[in-house]
């Protein structure tokens, strides 16, 4: 899809035909309002509402697993870290299922978090399977883009460093 454009280019010493001039203005107006053209602007402000039939994103849904630094598994049978960024709000869905080689587990996130205190103190529940034991685990941020996982609702609860380790959940945060 193209940007708005106009039909006629005028030359000096030639009479400008009013109808063509009007058509140019109409071209520009239509390009802005008829829903068929793209726009690229620095900032957009709507004092009323904004309706988007398609997607709204800075980054569309992306698989981040291969870019993330994942620690706590010797091998991964299934590794999914999907994220979607809308403005500065980042939605992360993760499913990590493999063989544990550590009592800890963590991943790096695609964006550093906002430094607001609520994010460094945030604890959210996730699902954990440690060996064959299901429980409520939890996720919390440590450094700017590291998400730590715990095998239980208490910080510091460790995993078994062998056998199956599975972590599933979502994490929503504000990027810096």
């Amino acid at each position: 899809m193209a940007y708005p454009s106009y039909t006629y280019t005028f030359m000096n010493n030639t009479k400008i035909i009013a109808a063509q001039c009007n058509e140019n203005f109409n071209n520009l107006l239509s390009g802005i309002i008829d829903g068929t053209k793209n726009m690229n602007v620095n900032a957009f402000s709507a004092t009323g509402s904004m309706s988007v039939a398609g997607d709204v994103y800075t980054k569309e849904l992306s698989d981040y697993y291969t870019s993330s630094t994942v620690a706590g598994w010797a091998s991964m049978a299934t590794g999914n870290i999907y994220y979607k960024k809308i403005g500065k709000t980042v939605f992360v869905d993760f499913y990590l299922n493999g063989t544990s080689n550590a009592t800890t587990a963590k991943i790096t996130l695609p964006y550093s978090h906002n430094a607001a205190s609520v994010f460094t103190n945030l604890h959210v529940p996730i699902k954990v399977i440690d060996s064959s034991s299901n429980c409520v685990g939890h996720a919390c941020l440590s450094s700017s883009n590291v998400l730590n996982f715990y095998n239980g609702a208490t910080s510091g609860t460790t995993f078994i460093n062998s056998g199956t380790k599975t972590i599933q959940g979502t994490f929503i945060y504000e990027a810096a």
């Binding site: 957009f44 402000s45 009323g48 709204v56 403005g87 994010f119």
Partner: protein, 173 residues
């Protein structure tokens, strides 16, 4: 950063320079396509997608720790309450640590009243005493307030120290 504008102004009874007229048309085209200008409208409809490099918000990330009303705690030691509103979707992140002589639910108010569909909704969070140690619940009790339960079976907080942390999203009314 400025809004789109035109370079040349024309006056009556004066020959219009075609090059200047073309320049004005190009000014407008560039203003809506080169990414350097701001645009402000009343309402907007996009048939395709909106790809935004910066932020998208009705209200930017907002710290309402100092204005949130918390009840159910006799003393509040630490409170972090932030929200982000994108259109009518409100994301709330929180951490609260306090103490109550008689344990009960912790109640706090929402930054925006929620839609009726969210009333009676439960969302899991982490809760504990001096620190989180179990799974509790956020409960949308009324349009403008949520209750925090200590445990997922709707057990109330015990007497003494109480802690809760998590996030939830809802649609504003």
């Amino acid at each position: 950063m400025a809004y789109p504008s035109v370079t040349n102004s024309f006056t009556d009874a004066t020959t219009i320079d075609a090059v200047q007229l073309n320049e004005n048309f190009n000014d407008i085209v560039n203003g809506v396509s080169d990414g350097t200008k701001d645009i402000q409208v009343a309402n907007s409809t996009v048939n395709g997608y909106a790809d935004i490099t910066g932020d998208v918000y009705t209200t930017a990330l907002t710290n309402y720790s100092n204005t949130v009303t918390i009840s159910g705690l006799d003393t509040v030691t630490t409170k972090y309450f932030y929200y982000k509103r994108i259109g009518n979707i409100v994301h709330v992140w929180f951490y609260v640590l306090g103490n109550a002589t008689v344990g009960d639910v912790i109640i706090f108010d929402l930054p925006y009243a929620c839609g009726a569909n969210f009333l009676n909704m439960y969302i899991p969070i982490l809760t504990g005493t001096t620190e989180v140690n179990g799974c509790g619940l956020v409960f949308f009790n009324a349009a403008s307030e949520v209750w925090l339960y200590y445990r997922i079976d709707s057990t109330k907080f015990p007497d003494g120290d109480e802690c809760a942390s998590g996030y939830f999203s809802y649609e504003a009314a």
